[in-house]
Structure formats: structure tokens, C-alpha cells
Amino acid sequence: MSVTVIIPTPLRSLTNGAPEVSVEGKTVREIIANLEKEYAGIQERICDENANLRRFVNVYLNDEDIRFLNDLETEIHDGDGLSIVPAIAGG
């Protein structure tokens, strides 16, 4: 399964400036692990030491916050889009 992952500005230094990248994986957790293989250092920015999503990171599968789905175990289908978006905004 290959998906497009949208990378927020603070993480683009790790993707050589690319605003989106293509990654393989069957779940969100796998996608993040594979992102790490390709772009070392990205995982600790998104996840805490217990491998959970950091408090101030939102991940959307297509248009849905993965916390409304199955969190990091949410399954990915071909052609899906994943966005990593900083949570500190609004209000």
C-alpha cells in the first residue's frame, strides 16, 4: 500500500524540503515506521518515547482525524492521503 504523506513545515528539513512524500505501509503505525527508515529522525518528532502520537500532533487520514478512527492502528488503503498537522492552532 502506498500513500502520500503531507509533511508540515517544521519537518521538511528532514524530507529534504519535500512538502509531501510517498510511503508504503498497511497501518498508520507502519507508515510512520517506514517514514523513519527513509527520513531518519522524523519519528521522534511525531511520536513520544512510548511510540504514541505526541500530544500536539494531529494526523488525518484523508479528511478524518485518526483518533476518530483506530488511532495508529488505522488501516491504510491504496491511494489514501495522510496529513501530519500541528495541533496548536485556533481557539
Binding site: 508540515p8 513545515t9 517544521p10 518528532r45 505526541r54 500530544r55 500536539f56 500532533v57 494531529n58 488525518y60 479528511d63 482525524d65 483518533r67 476518530f68 498537522v85 500541528p86 495541533a87 496548536i88 492552532a89 485556533g90 481557539g91
Partner: protein
Amino acid sequence: MGYVQGLKCRECGREYPKDPINICAFCFGPLEVVYRYEEIAKVLSRERITSRPPNMWRYLELLPLDDAPTVGKDVGYTPLVRAENLARSLGVSELYIKNDAVSYPTLSFKDRVVAVAVSKAKEFDFDTIACASTGNLANAVAACAASAGLKSYVFIPADLEQGKIMGTQVFGTNLVGIQGNYDDVNRLCTEVADKHRWAFVNINLRPFYAEGSKTFGYEIVEQLGWRLPQNVVVPMAGGSLITKLKKSFQELTKIGLVEEGRTKMFGAQATGCSPIVTAVKKGTDLFKPVKPDTIAKSLAIGNPADGFYAIQTMTDSGGWGEEVTDDEIVEAMKLLAETEGIFTETAGGVTLGVTKKLIEQGKIPRDESIVVSITGNGLKTQEALLGRLQKHPVIDSRLDSFEALLVEKQSRL
């Protein structure tokens, strides 16, 4: 001029210069303004503050501008009303309404945060102001940008109340309705802010913007005669206001303008959107985002950015969180209007409804000082009252028709 040291990540402590940025580049934590309090303590006194005009800038040293404000100069210093009638009705001894329903110029506390954000945007040399809003912020940004002669883009959920929509459009802003809820709007705006160099007041200017809320708290303390309230009830949407009120009390204590004391912070949400209150009741600091469904649209944020800190603020202070249904919201709006002559919007109904509940539960002691934070005006959310008020009679213009009506009314008593 100015007493800002810089910005600091609230999570990991990394430091940043004062730039238009809102998140830590390492851990995505929120950036907070750091001040040089020792210097502020030397120059700011009660006398100095009270000698200044009655607006929010009398606390200028505690706000994150480098120079005097250039817009929103008359914002703030709204009444703190001693609410005797309401106190009797609720069975408490010392009750106050901090009334930002009459905030100048757009009738909500958002005028405060926007005055700071737009002044800061001018310092940073932006030519376009923008925001994601549930309505009140839309009004405030559009008005302030107009008065500053700047362009503005305002993003809102498409289903907002008419008063909030017209009260934005009239200022000639670029208003964009988004199909979806506030959290959808917010997400889009985060992406727009990444792409365009605009001053998004609640995204890239958020650390500065949010500081404006502190003036609501400074005013409460000053208007109480330089005394901390024992209990404050605050509406929660993104959860920023309650954390900033706490900060305002701590700062006044730190620089020696008020004696040390304890204020219990209580947060209010609507049952149809209560992720923060639910977490407080469960005793966890992790909240679960929700899909909002409530008439209190100005509080309808399902994924609150400051939810975590709001939870901390309530529990650390000995406070609590509570929620009310849509019916209870309307009843509380009517109660405030009928007892104190104050017409608040649905969010105010949430805050007062929750106050009533907390008093009945014994969480707020009846013999302590209580401040209810009213942050918006009822004329903007009239839809909530449609069909909820008594229908008024219509008669012809003859005196005997009126007398007949009077007799009928009295016979019903």
C-alpha cells in the same frame, strides 16, 4: 520598549526569538511569551495603572508588544457587575459578572486578543490579517483589520448564526464559509498559514494573541479592589482563556500588585461539545476530541488546542469542570437577563448554567467570592431564543383594547 524576553516551548523548554511562530519546531508544543518580570515589577505599580485611561492597555508592560499599541486603543475595561439579584436567586453571598458582552467594539472578549495580535502584526509588518473563527473572533478581526487599514481573510464554519456572519461581512473582509465544523476550518487554516505569509491571529501569532486574554483577569483583580477572586467560572472552547486568566492572577502576584491567594478555576462547556470537562471528570489529562453538536456555537471546538492545559489549570487550582444541555443554556441566558439586565450569547448561558450547577453541587462554596465570565453578547445568537420566549400580544391602537388586555393579564396572575 517592551519586556518580552522571547518565546519558549511549554513542553520541552526550547527557546525561540520573538517571531511570528506558534509551535516548537522540535516537538510541536505551544510557544509561550516569556517576560522580564523583575524589570516589570520595578516600573509597574497600582498607582501607575490607575492613573492611565480605562482600557486594556493600562497593563501594557504585561503585554507582548515592543511599542505602544497602534490599533484597538480603546478596547477593554468592561464592567465588573456586583450581581445582587442573581446572587439571591442562586443563594450565594458575593457574586460578580465580568461583562464582556459590552466589549468595544464588537461585543465579545475577542476584541482584547485581536487588539494585541493586530498591533503585533503591524510590528511584524504583515499586510494581511486572518483567522479561523467560530464567530466572535471573525467579528473582531474584520473590525480591527478595517480600522487598521489592513486586508483580512476570515474563515468560519458555514452554519454560523446570522448575527455573526453579518457582523463580519459589514467590515468588508474576505469572509470564507467552510463546509464542516470549526475543527475542519482550523485544519484548513493551518495549511493556508503554512503557504501564505499572512498574520493568522490564532495560528502564527497565537502566542501573542492569547496574551490579550490576560487583561480580562487583570481587570477583575483591579475592579475587586486589588484582590484575587476565590472562584472564577470560565467558558471553554479552545481552552486558552481559562489558562490565561490563571496566568494573569499569577503574574499580578509575582510582581507584587496583589497579595498571594488561591483562585479556584472552573471550566464550562456545553454537553454537545465537552471534551475538556469529560476529561476532568474522568480524572485524566488526555481528552478525546469530539464532533460538536450544540447551540453554543462559539464554544463548538471538538479538538481544543489548549485542552491539556485547561485540564491542568482546573485540577491544580482545586477547581472543576461541568457541562450543561442546550435547554439549560437557554434557561441560564434568560436568568441572567431577567435578574441582571444582561443579555449574553449562548456561551454566557453555558457559563452561568454551569455556575448554578457547581453551586448546587457544593463545588463552589456559597459564602465565597464568585466571578462569572461573560464573554459575548446575546444579540449575536438570537436564533437560540427563537420560540423560547413568551409570545407577545398584538392589539389595535385603542385604549379600551389595552385595558381589556390588562384585565386579562391580571386575571391570569
